[in-house]
């Protein structure tokens, strides 16, 4: 039975990929570095509205946030210069470095009965490793990003998570 992941290791995207990539595009317009609060002002958002996207960009190694400033990393610059398919590959590689994705992928692979794993089992697994967070919400973010990174498939009609073909 898996124990709880230490909080500092729970690096989980918490924004839609369109929002994260849009923030990076906007940051690029500023020359790759800007005060987050200034970006928020310029696009008529509250700073809090930008935080999920900026935190996710940092988790994925595409940007760095320090003392209120957000800066594109070299990987972030490579990402922006890449086409759509190459961008997916970059995201796939970044997700595979995150402990929670590695654990979920491993769980699905080991428990695949030929037709994937029931959603409830994956959620129960998540609950066993990150009991401080809402496992359903975590499941939704993991599925969205794992689908985007071509790491998992999800059959929402049958409620089954499947390894990528």
């Amino acid at each position: 039975m898996a124990g709880d992941l230490p909080q500092k290791e729970i690096q989980l995207p918490g924004a839609h990929h369109g929002q994260v990539f849009g923030l990076l595009e906007i940051l690029d317009d500023y020359g790759g570095k800007a005060d987050l609060a200034r970006i928020a002002d310029d696009v008529f958002l509250e700073l809090d509205d930008l935080l999920p996207a900026s935190e996710t960009a940092e988790i994925l190694g595409l940007a760095k946030v320090d003392a209120g400033d957000i800066t594109l990393t070299e990987e972030g610059k490579r990402f922006l210069a890449a086409g759509i398919r190459r961008r997916k590959k970059i995201i796939q590689q970044r997700l595979l470095e995150l402990e929670i994705f590695k654990m979920v992928l491993d769980f699905v692979k080991k428990n695949d009965d030929g037709d994937g794993v029931e959603k409830d089992k994956v959620i129960a697994f998540l609950n066993s490793i990150i009991s401080e967070r809402d496992p359903e919400l975590c499941f939704r973010w993991i599925v969205e990003w794992a689908r985007h990174g071509l790491l998992l498939r999800y059959d929402s009609q049958g409620n089954r998570v499947k390894p990528q073909r």
């Binding site: 839609h16 008529f44 759509i84 398919r85």
Partner: protein
Amino acid sequence: MNFTVEEHEFVCLVGPSGCGKSTLLRIIMGLIPPDTGYVMYRGEKVSGPNPQMAMVFQSFALFPWLNVTQNVELGLEALALPVTQRREKALRVIQEIGLEGFEEAYPRELSGGMRQRVGFARALALDPEILLMDEPFSSLDVLTAENLREELLKLWEDRSLAPKLVVMVTHNVEEAVYMADRVIAMTYRPGTVAKDMRIDLPRPRDRRDQALYDLVDNITALIA
């Protein structure tokens, strides 16, 4: 109102709400007839829906009971293509538009940005000569809209998936100047063309370029 649009142009129609931009788009596509006047396409009057044109809507217009692949394939059914060819075409466009991985997803599982990508994919799968877009980014949050705009511009500049001509309606003048080769500014009551101007800024465009700001101010003053 008289204007001509040419191949390889990205044209934006801007104007105040109610000036007839969206109506004009539907007239161009042949969905509704004009009260007076006509639309010519390659020398022929448009008298009904034109299969060489496809539209992307502000509200995505997806069928919630169909998954991404099925929504994209829907328009292809009207072309009487064999099932395998429809599926291949749909999957190719899904990949090109960045939706690979979501082929089995239903609209309820998708963010607004992804739903609009499905809208784009469905239109582009038809290989239209002309892509018409009615405020395609206005239902999206500002970050997602930015992402989708940039990706669409990349596809347009790449020419691999792009149609020959894009006509986009928007109330966002900055968006129009940023994206278009040409901006047609319309006024209200009656809806007329106030100005038809080329945007000669080099691509990729810099939003902080003073020349871009000047054009935005210029056009905004015309339609105010």
